[in-house]
Amino acid sequence: MAALDTTPQAREGVDQETVDTVQSMAGKYKHGWETDIEMDFAPKGLDEDIVRLISEKNGEPEWLLEWRLQAYRRWQQMEEPDWAMLDIPPVDYQEQYYYAKPRSMAGEKPKSLDDVDPKLLETYEKLGIPLKEQMVLAGVEGAEDAPAEGRKVAVDAVFDSVSVGTTFQEELSRAGVIFCSISEAVRNHPELVKKYLGSVVPQGDNFFAGLNSAVFTDGSFVYVPPGVRCPMELSTYFRINAENTGQFERTLIIADKGSYVSYLEGCTAPKRDTHQLHAAVVEIVALEDAEVKYSTVQNWYPGDEDGKGGIYNFVTKRADCREDRAKVMWTQVETGSAITWKYPSCILRGNDTQGEFYSIAITNNWQQADTGTKMVHLGRNTKSRIVSKGISAGHAQNTYRGLVSMHPKSSNSRNFTQCDSLLIGDKCGAHTVPYIEVKNASSRAEHEATTSKVDDDQLFYCRSRGIGEEEAVALVVNGFCKEVLQALPMEFAMEAQQLVAISLEGSVG
């Protein structure tokens, strides 16, 4: 059985292709190179002076500094959460750099992308993220020949602690959409930032959100005005480059009444022997009739085959469907990071609001992932849907942890949850930890976690048309898996395509 360590054998019910795909996805890390560039660091460690320094470097107003300091003081009183099924070696928060900026970005921010250090542009080009507006995002078939007016994606590129540049800003502003780095937003739209920052994830929400609130350096800011359908997809690409540097970005998305925006997030980091810290916060506010789609392909460096190195990914993502009929959809493909601690959530506050969560989490070697979602139903007639597929290989541990909470006043609400896990090899683990709290009778919550428990009606439909039982189950399950993948925007199609090959046969709940 020792051979399983290196080349997992496909057992009955799991085809070799699946095994190979998982191996190839997590086994080789394509983005492990490093950009050799001169950086300015803040002194190592964390204290109030560092918080002040970060604030000063960003040229922030007094209120934001106060907000940060308040967060820092709270964070000092807090303890790291230990409830996740993660074995996290102690993190020395004083051994990190909390601010790193490419030297070329010192002083005035480059006015246009032409002024940006070519080395930085090269970095993103190498990652397949073009920062030139005439290009569309690589990875879309036929992209090279497509006219510039074809499929456009605006990109905010974040390199360690700072935003390098944001594309298509002008075109977006014609539509009234504000898309910029959060530090720019603080300067140019302080009223919006002041109103919404911390309104979804407060400073003292949890240990990692507290840390982020104190030291967040950059991240993206999106505001879509009432009735506007954002003319293109927005995306942020996060790159950790400097050693021993944590990345603490903060993203704030506000979709005003009746607006729509689709937002993509990608992330990579170089291969290193030491672990690096990433503690991000994403806040989404969806007002009346607004719809937000947030998609992530998380591909931070996962560490090597022996579990050396890799990113510790502690992320707090939460959407507030604040007003009636708002809708938020989270889609995530989690393939990277040594440790993933991430629960994109929806607060369904308004009536008739909807939250959706689609997730594929792949862990291999010594990776550990504890990820899932929280759906908090507060308003009437609210709906949520959770589809989670966990795939675990090598010595990895993969946990789905989720909360579905129906409050007494959230009458006539619905939840459907489907969690499937697949284990490849006998040294890994797959776990499911759902919390289901139903506090009124007219709401219905359903949680399923097995291929044999797929919807009987669908099975019956297939069977009555002469399809064998196994085939019928496969058909329905395949449908489910596709649902997660199809929830991803086209731009992530290439990365996600590799996942399509993964069959879910022989999956366990």
């Binding site: 057992r11 009955e12 709270r74 009183q77 807090m78 303890e79 409830w83 099924m85 003292g204 007494p408 009458s411 896990s421 284990l423 490849i424 090899g425 006998d426 040294k427 890994c428 683990g429 797959a430 776990h431 499911t432 930890v433 759902p434 919390y435 289901i436 709290e437 139903v438 506090k439 009124n440 009778a441 007219s442 709401s443 219905r444 919550a445 359903e446 949680h447 399923e448 976690a449 097995t450 044999s452 428990k453 022989g506 366990v508 709940g509």
Partner: protein, 434 residues
């Protein structure tokens, strides 16, 4: 702001020490005293549960750990016969937690050896020493169960049952109560020898506050069938623990009916340690008004080719609360495991609640494990269908509720027992129709 963990721990320790101080262990012989002393130290190390503990987040243990048992008015059952009265069985009666020999049958039964704990504990050696407190101690990890350790330390009555052959009739433990207030604490040990078979029945409220531990060891090829109906007293409180270790080709089937009760916490901790073992833990809860029924089940598969089922159904109305915390843990050697878990509740009104945490923890790759959990009201379409066929509303509702619970009742192997339970459920519903 969260209270620092160290501070919480210190305050829990202080409360626990205070609780233990002044409590005297029952007198006994060498084996019992040694087991009880160890259990006291376990309680001290584990500390008493509070609502901040992960496995007590849905059930507040305060009334279970209060110095005095809250009073519970006596409840006289006049509308139906006693549970299991149609069954030919050996009746062992406990009144307010004390064995009543006069009210009980002669405990001699072919193939079964029954001793009272209070007597056996007086001896310096007894077969039960290999189990008493031993299985409970093993069940403290990974989830702590301090109230079970407390029971091991301070329970002074109970029965030690050893089945050596196929028991002719069931052993029936009956828990009566005559006092409005006070605690009862019973600790039973059941050892089913290789190839032996036994049915154990339990019923009755026992006390205003009842604590019970049952340690079960089913040897290779043994079978234990356990059916329990907890008392209908509305204000009673109970915390019970079943620790069961199963050998090769052995079977454990345990079913619990909870109808009424202010607070009922039933924990089951089962280890499947030999190949081809089977463990079925099931239950039906009926709650109306001030009711909390909590089933906390932890099944560990350590050996290959075992099967486990957890089937729990809860009917909740008038603000009743149902809790289910279930776990299937499949260890790495336990390939070909077949694990099933279902927890469902029917809520009748906007005040009732169902809180569930159905967990899977799996380290073996060739297993089939599934769990499901649903919560909702009676399907109006189903009701309409029956109404359209001339069935009155109330009757249609009862039929649908019984159909909902059926899967749990089907876990009871013996049809006479199942019928007894089923009849009680329909009467419970009938009473609410009047």
């Amino acid at each position: 702001m969260a209270i620092p963990k160290a501070k919480l721990r210190a305050s829990k320790q202080e409360a626990t020490n205070e609780w233990l101080a002044g409590r005297a262990m029952p007198a006994g012989g060498a084996w019992a005293t040694a087991a009880r002393k160890e259990a006291v130290e376990r309680v001290r190390a584990l500390t008493l549960p509070t609502k901040r503990d992960e496995y007590w987040k849905y059930t507040d243990p305060t009334s279970l750990t209060a110095a005095e048992a809250p009073e519970a008015s006596l409840f006289e059952i006049t509308d139906e016969g006693a549970v299991f009265e149609q069954i030919d069985r050996v009746r062992l009666v406990f009144v307010d937690g004390v064995f009543d020999a006069a009210a009980s049958d002669d405990p001699s039964l072919a193939g079964v050896e029954i001793t009272r704990l209070a007597e056996a504990a007086g001896n310096d050696i007894h077969w039960a020493k290999d189990y008493y407190g031993v299985l409970e101690a093993a069940g403290q990890s990974p989830v702590e169960r301090p109230l079970a350790a407390f029971n091991t330390a301070f329970a002074d009555d109970g029965v030690l049952i050893r089945a050596t052959g196929k028991a002719e009739k069931p052993v029936s433990l009956i828990y009566e109560r005559g006092e409005k207030a006070g605690d009862a604490m019973l600790h039973h040990v059941i050892r089913v020898e290789p190839g032996a078979e036994l049915t154990v029945l339990e019923n009755g409220p026992a006390a205003a506050r009842f604590s019970q531990v049952m340690e079960v060891d089913v040897a290779d090829g043994g079978r234990l069938h356990h059916v329990r109906a907890q008392g209908r007293d509305h204000e009673r409180r109970a915390v019970t623990h079943l620790f069961a270790r199963l050998g090769e080709e052995s079977t454990l089937k345990s079913f619990t009916l909870v109808a009424n009760g202010r607070l009922t916490r039933n924990e089951a901790v089962v280890w499947l340690q030999g190949e081809n073992g089977a463990a079925h833990i099931s239950g039906a809860s009926m709650g109306d008004g001030e009711f909390l029924g909590d089933d906390t089940v932890f099944v560990t598969h350590s050996a290959p080719h075992c099967e486990s089922r957890q089937v729990f159904k809860k009917v909740l109305r008038g603000g009743a609360v149902g809790v289910f915390q279930g776990k299937i843990l499949v260890e790495q050697p336990a390939q070909k495991t077949d694990g099933y878990q279902i927890s469902q509740s029917l809520l009748f009104d906007e005040r009732s609640q169902f809180l569930a945490k159905p967990e899977l923890e799996i380290y073996a790759d060739d297993v089939q494990c599934s769990h499901g959990s649903t919560s909702g009201e009676i399907d109006p379409d189903h009701l309409f269908y029956m109404r359209a066929r001339g069935i009155p509303q109330a009757e249609a509702e009862s039929l649908l509720v019984l159909a909902f619970i059926a899967e749990a009742i089907e876990e009871i192997e013996d049809e006479t027992l199942a019928e007894d339970i089923r009849a009680r459920l329909s009467r419970w519903l009938e009473r609410r129709r009047a």
